[in-house]
């Protein structure tokens, strides 16, 4: 009986999740069909699809679409992976070791409120306009977000399991590895999801830093020339990458922190 109800709730979820984008699409069609908005502001969906097909077939500004996608994924991927590793490492240490927290508290909390766009001129000055600048810009944001979440998670580690581990003979490293890290994992995973979204949004900004390829480049270049359909195609591809990677992380999170909320 309750299993039946669970299945129905699940079905309702999938149905609503599928219907809401369809409703948006419907609104979009309606708005463009009836001329509520000018096409240069909001092009009709079929024109966007055409621009997408055009990019798939003949690329954008002389470069195949997959090269643009790969360039962006590489930047986000490297920056996310390295930034997250560093952020989790530093954040967990900050959460458990007062001295480490003391070292990081002033610089980290001063950099954190600076919008990434504000860092662009400095990064150009320091690292040029190549790949390094782009990756470091994304990496910085990922690092700061994952650090805050890992720190909060490590600090929230309950006292009794910590004491249990110590009294069962765990050394400092083992306490970290077997107790603090898993206890912080729910918040770390949340941090990763937030950081991934932010990384993709900063991607566009980072591709302001010169260069001739990337999804952000397409969006910026197309908008400079009022090719709104290409802007939309680029934005939608970024959105789909974001949706897919977030679902992936959410799935990993459910597998890795299976105990959360079930205590």
């Amino acid at each position: 009986m309750s299993e039946n109800r669970q299945r129905r709730a699940r079905l309702r979820y999938v149905l609503l999740a599928a219907l809401s984008p369809l409703a948006l699409l419907f609104l979009w069609v309606a708005a463009t069909r009836h001329g509520w908005v000018r096409p240069v502001i909001l092009p009709p969906p079929d024109a966007v699809v055409m621009s997408f097909v055009d990019m798939v077939v003949s690329g954008y500004s002389g470069i195949p679409l997959y090269v643009h996608v790969a360039a962006s994924l590489m930047r986000v991927g490297v920056a996310f992976f390295v930034g997250a590793l560093l952020g989790i490492f530093v954040g967990m240490l900050r959460g458990r070791v007062a001295e480490v927290d003391a070292i990081f508290v002033v610089p980290a909390e001063m950099i954190r409120p600076i919008p990434p766009l504000g860092l662009i001129p400095l990064f150009i000055l320091w690292f040029g306009i190549g790949e390094l600048s782009k990756i470091l810009l994304i990496l910085t944001s990922v690092f700061l977000i994952t650090m805050v979440n890992a720190q909060a998670g490590a600090r929230a580690c309950p006292a009794d399991p910590l004491r249990a581990a110590l009294s069962l003979g765990a050394d400092r490293f083992q306490v970290f590895r077997y107790v603090v890290l898993p206890a912080a994992l729910p918040q770390i995973m949340t941090g990763l999801r937030v950081a991934l979204g932010t990384a993709l949004s900063i991607l566009v900004a980072s591709e302001l830093l010169g260069g001739d390829r990337g999804l952000g480049f397409i969006v910026l270049d197309a908008s400079n020339f009022f090719r709104t359909t290409y802007v939309f195609s680029g934005v939608i591809i970024i959105g789909i990458v974001g949706l897919a990677s977030d679902r992936g992380l959410a799935w990993l999170s459910r597998r890795w922190v299976h105990w959360e909320g079930r205590r």
């Binding site: 922190v257 105990w259 205590r263």
Partner: protein, 258 residues
């Protein structure tokens, strides 16, 4: 040395302050090897604090706490702690929880598995080794906490109201299991409880702690027939007599018994 059983735990005028407030005041006692001491007392009188000092989680503000004649410097696997909150590792299976000490000690995987399964069997958890703590009932969780401590083969077991959240029948089974395990391993047990019956059934001696002036706790000896783990003991005249004495002592205004 003499043939008298060695003193395993000793408190010598141990005091503990929490931010200027004295929680334990000049507490002194000694506990011999193989003894079971049950600690009774009202909430907030410092029972957990006392156990935490023995476990090495807290340092005395004054006085000295010794294990086998050496000052307690910190937590260690020679003192196993069974927590009221279970304190299981939610991210590990029952087997991994039980094997935790061996894993930390770098024992071979085969030995970890073998000991974990043996300890699971000892506390009646056979068949649940691959489950996670959230898939267990309260009584099973506490059995897991107990097995995790037993796998470290501690000299002293510290138990803080371990069966408070367990139903009566499971509790009585677990109490009998504690006595059986103690007879088998010869370990020393300090057992904190709210239940007079539990204290009398388990304890060789009972410390009745009082709120505030904790230097003066009352002590009761229990002389029940051996082996102690027969449930008949719950109806033995000695059981009833000690229970009555403690009951009366708890009703008396503090200090008048001294």
């Amino acid at each position: 040395m003499t043939s008298a059983p060695e003193v395993v735990l000793q408190f010598d005028r141990v005091s503990l302050d929490y931010g200027g407030q004295r929680v334990l005041s000049e507490l002194s006692f000694s506990i011999k090897r193989g003894e079971i001491v049950a600690v009774l007392g009202p909430s907030g009188c410092g029972k957990t604090t006392m156990l935490n000092i023995v476990a090495g989680f807290l340092q005395p503000s004054a006085g000295i706490a010794l294990i086998s004649g050496r000052e307690i410097a910190g937590p260690g696997p020679d003192r196993g702690v069974v927590f009221q909150s279970y304190a299981l590792f939610d991210w590990m299976t029952v087997r991994e929880n039980i094997a935790f000490h061996l894993r930390c000690a770098g024992r071979p995987r085969r030995e970890q598995l073998e000991v974990a399964d043996r300890m699971a069997a000892l506390v009646g958890l056979t068949g649940t080794e691959d489950r996670y703590p959230y898939q267990l009932s309260g009584g099973m969780r506490q059995r897991c906490g107990l097995a995790r401590v037993l796998a470290a083969n501690p000299r002293v077991m510290l138990m803080d109201e371990p069966f408070a959240a367990v139903d009566v029948q499971t509790r009585e089974t677990l109490q009998e299991e504690i006595l059986r395990i103690q007879a088998q391993t010869g370990c020393t047990i300090v057992f904190v409880t709210h239940s007079i019956d539990e204290a009398v059934f388990l304890g060789d001696r009972i410390f009745l702690m009082l709120k505030g002036g904790l230097g003066a706790f009352e002590e009761f000896a229990v002389n029940l027939p051996q082996p102690r783990d027969g449930s008949d003991n719950r109806l033995h005249p000695e059981f009833l007599a000690v229970r009555e004495r403690i009951y009366r002592a708890m009703r008396q205004p503090a200090g008048s018994a001294a």
